[in-house]
Amino acid sequence: MANTVKLNIDGIDVSIEAGKTVLDAAKKLNIHIPTLCYHEDLCVAGNCRVCVVEQEGVKNLVASCAMPAQDGMVIHTNTHKVRNARRHVVELLLSEHNADCTKCYKNTRCELQDLAGEMVINEHMFLDLVPDKNYTIDNLSPAIIKDDSKCIRCQRCVRTCDELQHVSALGVAYKGEHMKISTFFENPMYEVVCTNCGQCVIRCPTGALVEKNYLDNVWDAIYDEDKHVIVQTAPATRIALGEDLGMEAGSIVTGKMAAALRRLGFDSVLDTDFTADLTIMEEGTELLTRLKRALVDKDPTVKLPMTTSCSPGWIKFIEHMYPEYLENVSTCKSPQQMFGALAKTYYAEKRGIDPAKIVSVSIMPCTAKKFEANRPEMRDSGYQDVDMGLTTRELAVMIKQAGIDFKELPDEKFDSLMGKSSGAAVIFGATGGVMEAALRTAYEIVTGREVPFKNLNITPVRGMEGVKEAAVKIENVLPAWSFLEGVELKTVVAHGLTNANKVMQAVKNGTADWHFIEIMACPGGCLGGGGQPIPTTPEIRKKRAEAIYREDAGMAIRKSHENPEIKQIYEEFLEEPLSHKSHWLLHTHYQARKRE
């Protein structure tokens, strides 16, 4: 057992594991200490100073988030000195902050606003510094808006970008009064190494970093009678949307979400899960083809290991950081973009609708999907394949705007064409899910048998460990796949780009012998995506993951290749995986980008 220390907070004795902080100890006692720069996912900065407390025998106040709990400490969290200091700190932050709250996208969802409310600050104690600041707003990116006038310099974004994502697109520049959070040479976000993952957005306590919202565009399209507005919903949205609408983390709201979308006025409520299943067919076949070329044809040009391509944050990361490995990335478009390309071709054709009149909207747990939808190569249907990518949060806003009582909605189903899916598609929303889904299908294609895991649950690739390796021995294969007899298929799964970087370093150093790599840009996979409800913590992500696997377990169909709509689309439209038509609509290419 770890060593424990004993301290006293506000007159109450508490024991806590050595190495924990005063803040942790106070939490244990349910004593609320306000924080701003502190975030459970990040290293301690101790720079906002809102969490200061009084320690007996120490002249100055101490930052409870940064102060290790020590034996015999006597702490007071609510003294005159503490209150004064905290109030001053919040007043100071407000004096530097563009506090035009009613015109802020984060209005009512801002940690600084909450704190000011808690302290009942209703006048300016200090001078307003904002007019002299020359703050800039960077709204050039299709995904993320950076508004320096809202920034409180807590550096959560900087730590996120560095520690969790190994990107460091955001850093601290200048000192003193000019200190700010900036990009390389203060270039706009869309020109720098930013992957648009939005992990900074879900950790920004204020409105300094927010997604670019497309709410008005979507409403305009819905109200336009000439338009046929369809919507697709990503796997991870259905287990998180409820959090923004008054429900517990881990609530499964698939049916309510479909009902809400219908009530919002979408003409057809469809599912990205359908194209997640389709991704498995295409990507699985691509992997088997690469393996055949490597093992049978001994083709030296074939690139292995192959990596997944569902996560647009990961795609931008590898384009910047490891451009020499772009050919290792599966050419499959992400499920969002497969859906978009099919919406204005297959769907339009089957439903007899002019594709020019289709407005294709996606609901994503992601901010990078906004960037992806705007990539110039994503126009294979002859139109922009996905017109607007919304985050889970934006959908929650629309539902509130429409006055829908979400919790009381009945469960409804998705519409039928491109609306059916399997449990394999749902688990795309969790780290390891694509790998598990791919193995369920590929193993069965090759051997004619189900994967040798109880209830199809491939547990080695599940869970929140940063890098997970799994190997599957392929035996007694069907005759067509005899070249795989006895092969041990080696896979690795990583989530969060810092872990992705570890995997790529191993690939680069030649110390890895994996065949297939799954990478998701965000911690926990899409369920922890930058478009998901705020806040995000390890605990919340764990609950979302449990919900995803519950949803999978409850599905009638658990394997992508058994989805009847998948069979149908190959019979009626695509012919077979990697067909000419598939290549045209479902596959893409990447571009090397500079690392700056």
């Binding site: 200091a85 510094l129 601290v172 000192k175 003193g176």
Partner: protein, 387 residues
């Protein structure tokens, strides 16, 4: 200017010392003996904070890590302080000698001199001295190397943990404490970081013995100190004086006959007005200083003096913590607004409370000490702030 009340001392720059002999002798001594000498001497850090040097060395020596460092803080950036420049110019080998003895005691193989960016001109001479030093320690068979790293002009990098960050190639921002450098310093290894002057005194204590040092000064402030004396004085310069003098005696010797106030300890120190000269002791029991003594005569506007200081801090705050970054801006803009009549005189009280908050809630010594000059000037020269 003869004066019997102030005692001139000649330890730091004394030529009665062959550094080679001192180093050779002391490297033969036991660590315990050296530590005992440094502890017994009562030497406290000469950078300003005044932590007992012997304890710092002792704590670091007790750490079991293989890798340890000794760092010489030569980022002399406090306005009005220029004594380390003189020491490094005249007796660099004593500085290196102090580092070597410390390295022996704590078990370090590498030492670093973090040299203020503006002291680039000293670097060539220091490197030359270092060559001589390295060949001598090699001769002695002592495994120790000193490297010189340049600062880049940020005042905050004189704060020890920001200095480590800067040495590691990162942005110079102070760290959270604890852990302290004796446990986790440069590269997160146990590190002794001492001011230039402290290292020379440590070296000289090893030469003259703890007793000779201890008999100088007062109970809380043993020994002597090198002062950087500037401002309205006819004899500005570097002086080594016994600690514990009264400010009255000091002004009598160094003032121009019209001294209105003395800023003790630079921009982050305290302003003492004429009426308090008599009761003010220069030392840790009174007003401590890292060496800077700035004299102001009656022609000076204390508003301008204060504005100059807060402008300096507004610029030199690293910007990471709220009280310091925004507090400095508010203090500066606040006194400007009062002077212009845009804010009432009562606003000075609000600013005083803000300064108090900065003192107790800032992350590092920079933000914590802004209140020193702010409060002492506003308290003593309130009318000059308003009219």
């Amino acid at each position: 200017m003869p004066n019997t009340k102030l005692k001139r001392v000649d330890i730091i720059f004394s030529e009665d010392c062959v550094y080679k002999d001192v180093l050779a002798d002391n490297l033969k001594k036991s660590n315990e003996d050296i530590l005992k000498d440094i502890l017994d001497s009562g030497l406290r850090g000469r950078g300003g904070a005044g932590f007992p040097t012997g304890l710092k060395w002792k704590f670091t020596s007790q750490e079991t890590e293989e890798e340890k460092y000794v760092v010489c803080n030569a980022d002399e950036g406090e306005p009005g302080t220029f004594k380390d420049r003189e020491i490094l110019t005249r007796v660099p080998l004593k500085v290196f000698g102090g580092m070597a003895i410390c390295a022996k005691v704590i078990g370090a193989k590498h030492g670093y001199v973090y040299l203020r960016g503006e002291y680039q001109f000293l670097k060539a001479d220091l490197e030359k001295a270092l060559e001589e030093f390295h060949s001598f320690v090699k001769e002695l068979g002592f495994d120790f190397q000193i490297h010189i790293l340049m600062g880049s002009g940020a005042y905050i990098c004189g704060e020890e943990s920001a200095l480590f960050e800067s040495m590691e190639g990162k942005r110079g921002e102070p760290r959270n404490k604890p852990p302290y450098p004796t446990i986790s310093g440069f590269r997160n290894k146990p590190t002794v970081i001492n001011n230039v002057e402290t290292l020379v005194y440590a070296f000289m204590i090893c030469r003259i013995g703890a007793g000779k040092f201890h008999e100088l000064g007062t109970t809380d402030s043993r020994g002597s100190k090198v002062f950087s004396i500037s401002g309205d004085t006819p004899i500005a310069g570097i002086y080594e004086l016994e600690l514990g003098m009264s400010l009255e005696d000091f002004v009598e010797e160094f003032g121009d006959g019209d001294t209105k106030a003395v800023q003790v300890g630079g921009a982050s120190g305290f302003c003492v007005p004429r009426k308090k000269f008599k009761d003010t002791i220069i030392g840790f029991e009174g007003v401590p200083t890292g060496g800077s003594m700035m004299l102001f005569n009656s022609s000076r506007s204390m508003y301008n003096v204060l504005k100059n200081y807060v402008e300096f801090f507004e610029e030199e705050s690293c910007g990471q913590c709220t009280p310091c970054r925004v507090g400095c801006q508010q203090l500066k803009k606040g006194i400007e607004a009062i002077k212009k009549g845009e804010k009432s005189a009562h606003y000075l009280d609000t600013l005083q409370k803000l300064a108090d908050t900065m003192k107790v809630s800032s992350k590092c010594g920079l933000g914590q000490s802004v209140a020193n000059s702010f409060s002492s000037i506003v308290d003593n020269f309130r009318e000059e702030m308003i009219y």
